[in-house]
Amino acid sequence: MEEFFQQLTNGLAVGGIYALIALGYTMVYGVLKLINFAHGDLFTIGAFLGLTLLTSLGLSDHMGPLLGVIALAVMVIVLVGLIGFLLERTAYRPLRNSQRLSAVVSALGASIFFQNAVMLIWGARPLVYPHNILPTTAISIFGMDVPLVRILMFSTSLVLMYALYYLTHKTKIGAAIRAAAIDQGAAKLMGIDVNRVIALVFCIGPALGGAAGVMVGLYYGQISFTMGWMYGLKAFTAAILGGIGNIPGAMVGGLLLGVIEALGAAYISIAWKDAISFLVLILILIVRPTGLLGERVADKV
């Protein structure tokens, strides 16, 4: 039983990261109906930019670990948001009125481009974040040792998720985002500048991915130029699991995916872990074709 709870916390910790990346996926999808395959690579860029800023500016030395990490996250969020904005302008906007899958291919091209750009800029070897930034103490919860960093990371994920939920559901801008997601034409008629909404979404989504990249770098220590592909796929899975386009759905999907992976590895087979989580996904979709929290869209008639 103790092992079960241990595995549950392991799963939730990973799931928090999946959820954070899935949020960016789902936001972009909600408004543009575009599967942004480059999202995982924006996450990678966030991790590498974070490392460069951290070591070149010596943030944690000047400001102390907590402030330093926050300052770092803010910088990365701004930079990756900017890259996301430029990506939308150059690679996706010209395709907005064509068939949906054209933009998917453009996104795949962007993914290849970013991945190789990271390789050429930072080299093909995995890089390592400095170790001494985050505290290594563990605290005991119900007799289990849980590293403090995991708890910090998980709560940061929750805070970011809530901030996003607040933004989309409680503010005027959020209302505009949701309006554009439901019907761009109608939103335009209501006086919403849809282009600005899309640009904003394309800043926020990748920025969250970038923030997740910094968190992964700080916590796991090791980052490599290919890691975005795997995280992107997992996040996409998580977003679909929860019902893509739905913000609470991405959170639930991410956490659930993490837990399924941990429990699948623990009780069935480690080697088949990913196959198990895909199988669960397929079974869930057979029962609920639009994911757990996805709206039941009636067929158009």
Partner: protein
Amino acid sequence: MMNMRTLLLFAVCLLLLALPQFLNPYWTDVFNNIGLYTVLALSLNIILGHAGLFHMGHAAFYAVGAYTTAILNTQFGVPVLYTMPLAGLLAAVFAMVVARPIIHLRGDYLLIVTIGIVEIVRIALVNDVFGLTGGANGIFGIARPMVFGFKLKKPEHFFYLIWGFCLLTIFFMHRLENSRFGRALNFIKEDDVAAEGSGIDTAYYKLIAFVLGAFWAGMTGTIYAAKMTIISPEAFSFWESVVLFTIVILGGMGSIRGVLVGSFLIIGLPEIFRDLAEWRMLVFGLAMMLMMIFRTQGLIPPPPRKYDVLAYLKEAAGAVGGGRA
């Protein structure tokens, strides 16, 4: 007009026939890969291009075919090319079993499920499922195929096998496009509710599209296994499916000529960029984006279907008029 096209077709075929004489083995092999991907992409085109089903797991069916051939040949000594129908059949049965419960999923939900299927297949292969697939090492020592007592060995031999099969596929796909089945699929792509309303059993047609596409991909798997003589799970990763998906979309969904040009570009460009060494994939990614931006509907989108409505009406009116007289 028709004559011009036939003539052009003949000229292209002749050119193909003569091509290996002018190319070194490397470029012949590049053409082989292009041909292989063309056939695979054409088989995906039935599902993705004609029926409009978001399918990003085609490598799974291709893998089933290739592994069928490899196992039959290395374990039971069945000559490679004889395994081709069975490879196709097994892939088709596999497609039927996995596609049946998911066929009603919409758009992106289907996309992730097909990704899931290709990943499950790859993981199964790596884990040496049933002790038959050889795990990560794969299966080696697949015999070279014999055609009328002649052993296919060199790239130029395979060139004729692959492009012969490719021409056959193009012919078949062309017939399919203009068949009742092909038209029904296009209807489903444009509006599946209306198609359902017009009496088309959409679930059935979608399933048949999957099965047919898988059958063809499975047969291509045989050729791949024969050409490489060793197969391993890396060759059937999710990325392969992405490449095929890209070829179909970039070429222009549902267009045979588009798929041909698409595979020339997607498979050929990285080879042309070889001199760029580690820069080559960066340039390739950029090229992919640019091509899509400048041709948003794909390189050669299929022409809209044309029906001579007036003639049809006249004929119908004539029939009615004739009845009256």
